[in-house]
Amino acid sequence: MSFDWSFLWTHMFDLSPHYGVGLQRTLFMAVISMIFGVMLGMLVALARLSKIRVISGLAALYVWLLRGVPELVILILLYTGLAAAGIFRFNDITVFGMVLPAAMQAAIFGFSIREGAYMGEIFRGGIMAVDRGQVEAAKALGMKRIATLRRIILPQAMRVVVPPMGNQFTIMLKATSLASVLGVPELLLTTQTFAAETFRVFELFIGLAVNYLILTTVWTFIQSLIEARLARHEADTTTEGPLARARRHLFGAATPAGRRAA
């Protein structure tokens, strides 16, 4: 069977009869899991930085566990494993008039707790990167701990946190494809189903790859704009515009000609 170009062009942006819904599910899972993951990550970071040993220890244990186990294993344990053991079974629920299927709940739950571990480490790094003098200045002005955290530490930590957080979202966009294993008909599973009907696996998966590339590329540009906005108080904002920033994200930092020769 030869490669069918016309089939690829026809179905590039319409991988199956359920393409639109699949795309929606992919984006929905990525965005919701990222939001939960970021909130959880904040708590994990604060817990890890706690002076109370038990709390920081528990947070460290959490990070170790969720970063050390493959995501797919986490998902299957949560959805299939817990149900098989009779411990917990996800059921379809209705949120704001929308049915949230059991498998999708398990997937979002799994993505969120995994993201919480990674974001926890990213936030911790960001908070630790804030100069102690900034905290002392806030204290000396009579600001309390919570106000100092909210108004001084976190906004400054964001400069360090946002670039890796953007990368995490790129990873999340792609990782949602794992939900197909639980039977969530997102982009990958709808394509797979259609491929099974048409036997055009190669064409359809090239099309699917292009679809993921478009998602991650669009996100990269959005991320560049956010980073440029956050860097507005740096002295050298003019040196790297959003386009150069996006190029760096997509292809890595440029090598200066002189250094390449050396």
Partner: protein, 254 residues
């Protein structure tokens, strides 16, 4: 000056960092409107003393009061015990502090720096805080820099901004921790001028600094520290008559 004029009272203060004994039972009275210059080599305890006054550092023995009230601790059986966070914060709000490295919040413009604590801590409304903030920036010669981020300012401008930020809390006393040590020589003068104007307005100030020009023009007293104790305490007008450690110090460094 009589006893009731004492604003800052330091009595028998001891401070240890682990094994290291930094302040050895130190006593110091500062009166209302008085400008006290703290001198001494690095490691003599000047910075630590300033930082204990607004409780950025804890003390293990003795007492420190500002306007008759302890800062950051209450006394139990003659020993200082840490107070609740809101009590510490409220006490600090009345004590302005200026740091060697300015420590302006670099994610905020100069004006935002100046109005942040008045809004968060004193509960001023934004419009009122902005009006006062602009007035203070004008006073330190930075009226045109209100909307500029700190990283785009010179060291001298940042330090003047930091002074405006501290003044925005309407403090009773101002502590200056080596305010010109991190500055380029050409910007030191502009910071000292602001400090001298503040002194002339009657602000109670403790300044850890070796700027003898400032001492001669604005200080009332010079206090020399060595190894965590005060070794000489003279009226500023008479520093040149010193026969002790202050004379040695001035000869060595100036």
């Amino acid at each position: 000056m009589n006893k009731s004029d004492v604003v800052i009272e330091v009595r028998g203060v001891h401070k240890w960092y682990g094994e290291l004994h930094v302040l050895h039972g130190l006593d110091l009275d500062v009166h209302r409107g008085e400008v006290v210059c703290l001198i001494g080599t690095s490691g003599s305890g000047k910075s630590t003393l300033l930082r204990t006054i607004n409780h950025l550092e804890t003390i293990q023995e003795g007492r420190i009061t500002v306007n008759g009230r302890t800062v950051g601790y209450r006394e139990e059986g003659g020993k200082p015990v840490a107070a609740r966070e809101d009590v510490i914060a409220a006490a600090r709000a009345g004590i302005g502090m200026v740091f060697q490295n300015f420590n302006l919040f670099w994610h905020m413009t100069l004006l935002q720096n100046v109005i942040e604590a008045p809004i968060q801590v004193l509960g001023l409304n934004a419009a009122e805080a902005r009006d006062r903030g602009r007035e203070l920036l004008k006073r330190v010669g930075l009226a045109d820099k209100a909307d500029v981020y700190p990283r785009k300012l010179s060291g001298g401008q940042q330090q003047r901004g930091a002074i405006a930020r501290a003044l925005a809390m309407r403090p009773d006393v101002m502590l200056f921790d080596e305010p010109t040590s991190a500055l380029d020589p050409e910007t030191i003068g502009e910071v000292l001028t602001v400090m001298e104007e503040l002194a002339a307005d009657g602000m109670t100030m403790i300044v850890a600094s070796h700027e003898m020009g400032f001492v001669r023009r604005a200080a009332h007293r010079v206090v020399m520290m060595e190894n965590g104790v005060i070794v000489e305490d003279l009226p500023a007008a008479r520093v040149d008559e010193s026969t002790g450690r202050i004379r040695d110090f001035i000869q060595k460094f100036h």
